[in-house]
């Protein structure tokens, strides 16, 4: 089973001081998929990726990349895994060519052609100093370095952060080129939902250090639904709807976003909204934003809701 999974995490938990940043994080990503890891800033995405990459030890739990324990990755293992750091760190004093030389020394396979092609796609001259590159170009060099090592697995920490539209396009093209063969796996964290919708076939959403969504993009879309309810005294009870992801006021209506809308849920909806209940079309980013907005809400809301969640589980 391990061999089918590019990434596997079991019960990953990480504290910073007494704050729990990653909480009981389970994840399994099959080979050949492109997974977008979504979450607000501070949801624990970077910490999770660093633990997966063996750059940070989990307080407890374990994780495996390509079947190898993250905390014991050998240089050979690392050569099979590409990783770009948030902000695309590179040494500013090196030229693009020097960066390549510095980087390639340690990788047994080096596809110089791919490096040059990627760099060209971002419109970079190899003789340029990293320090003088734009953010998008730096991202290009960083990607080129990672790709040229021909890894089997790519872990990208917010690669699109601060990129202009052209660089974003180039990034997406590069990523799609990479996973062309269907055997290579990508895990990328991002805030650009449109790009994730395009590029990813799987989506994972982190809220408060917990993984609440981990499925295919289409499964996610089909299981999240949105409803509008006319205001009435009963609408105060929306919080009791099972599977409520988020609710917000829109004009005279309350829009609720629900996960796994089943008969029980529909019954609850009808009880509250009655005939005014109206199902709305929902886009991918709306569905994600509902999850992310939820994490913005106060903890009291969360805790009361989680209690309800438990009740619901007990009913199941």
């Amino acid at each position: 089973m391990l061999n089918d999974l590019a990434i596997e995490a079991r019960g990953l938990t990480r504290y910073f001081d007494s704050r729990m940043v990653v909480s009981d994080f389970d994840l399994s990503i099959p080979r050949g998929s492109v997974t977008g890891l979504l979450g607000l800033n501070g949801a624990g995405k970077t910490t999770t990726l660093r633990i997966l990459m063996g750059l940070l030890a989990p307080t407890r739990g374990e994780s495996y990349l390509l079947g190898k324990n993250s905390q014991c990755l050998t240089p050979d293992d690392r050569a099979r895994i590409g990783y770009t750091v948030e902000g695309h760190f590179l040494y500013g004093w090196m030229t693009v060519r020097q960066s390549e030389k510095f980087h390639r020394e340690t990788f047994p396979r080096w596809n110089a052609g791919m490096f040059d092609a990627t760099v060209r796609r971002f419109g970079i001259e190899p003789s340029q100093k990293i320090r003088h590159l734009s953010r998008g170009q730096k991202a290009g060099v960083s990607l080129a370095l990672t790709m040229a090592a021909e890894p089997e697995l790519l872990v990208l920490d917010d690669p699109a952060l601060g990129l202009d539209p052209v660089s974003r396009l180039a990034l997406n093209e590069t990523l799609l080129d990479f996973c062309d063969g269907g055997t290579k796996t990508i895990l990328l964290s991002s805030h650009l939902l449109d790009d994730v919708e395009r590029v990813a076939d799987r989506v994972a959403v982190m809220v408060h250090g917990r993984l609440v969504v981990n499925t295919t993009v289409d499964d996610f879309r089909s299981r999240v639904s949105s409803w509008a309810i006319e205001h009435s005294p009963a609408t105060r009870g929306v919080e009791s709807i099972p599977g409520l992801v988020h609710s917000r006021q829109l004009g005279g209506k309350t829009v609720v976003t629900l996960a796994d809308c089943d008969q029980e849920t529909e019954a609850a909806l009808t009880r509250i909204g009655g005939a005014t209940c109206e199902r709305l079309p929902i886009t991918f980013d709306e569905a994600v934003i509902a999850y992310l907005s939820r994490s913005r809400e106060s903890h009291s809301f969360l805790s009361s809701n989680s209690k309800r969640g438990q009740e619901r589980m007990a009913l199941d």
Binding site: S33, V34, L169, N172, E173, L176, D177, C179, D180, G182, L193, D194, E197, R198, V199, A200, D201, V217, D218, R221, E278, R279, P281, I282, T283, F284, D285
Partner: protein, 131 residues
């Protein structure tokens, strides 16, 4: 033909692709036997995940719209009924059920629904007159 997709659309990308091809086949923009772009080609063109294109093509193949040709990619299939009559009816009823209930929810009368339906049909299949 030109396939266009938009992200941030209530319809998922694979659905958009499938619908556009389906429509092109129905309207005759794509003729039977005509080759359509390969999964890789289309994914590259649209800058989307190839799995998404593959999923759309898969659905269309399953529904008999497209036909996979070993070594040649996909071509538009002969319109043939790959399902039994019963199955076809079941599928149609399924779509009709949701259509009708949605129309009622939205407060349309039966006539209004029929009228709009016939307009659509005229547009898509102008050569077939309604009974």
């Amino acid at each position: 033909m030109q396939i266009r997709i938009s992200v941030g659309n209530p319809q998922s990308i694979y659905r958009q692709i499938a619908d556009q091809i389906r429509r092109a086949v129905v309207t005759g923009e794509l003729s039977v036997g005509e080759a359509i772009p390969s999964v890789r080609q289309l994914a590259k063109e649209l800058v989307i995940n190839p799995n998404t294109v593959a999923k759309a093509y898969g659905e269309l193949t399953r529904d008999g719209v497209l036909e996979g040709q070993p070594g040649r990619g996909y071509i538009v299939a002969n319109r043939k009924n790959i399902y039994t009559k019963t199955e076809r009816l079941r599928r149609l009823d399924q779509v009709l059920d949701s259509l009708v209930s949605e129309a009622i929810t939205l407060g349309f009368s039966g006539d209004e629904l029929l009228e709009r339906l016939s307009k659509r049909l005229e547009k898509l299949l102008p050569d077939q007159s309604l009974p």
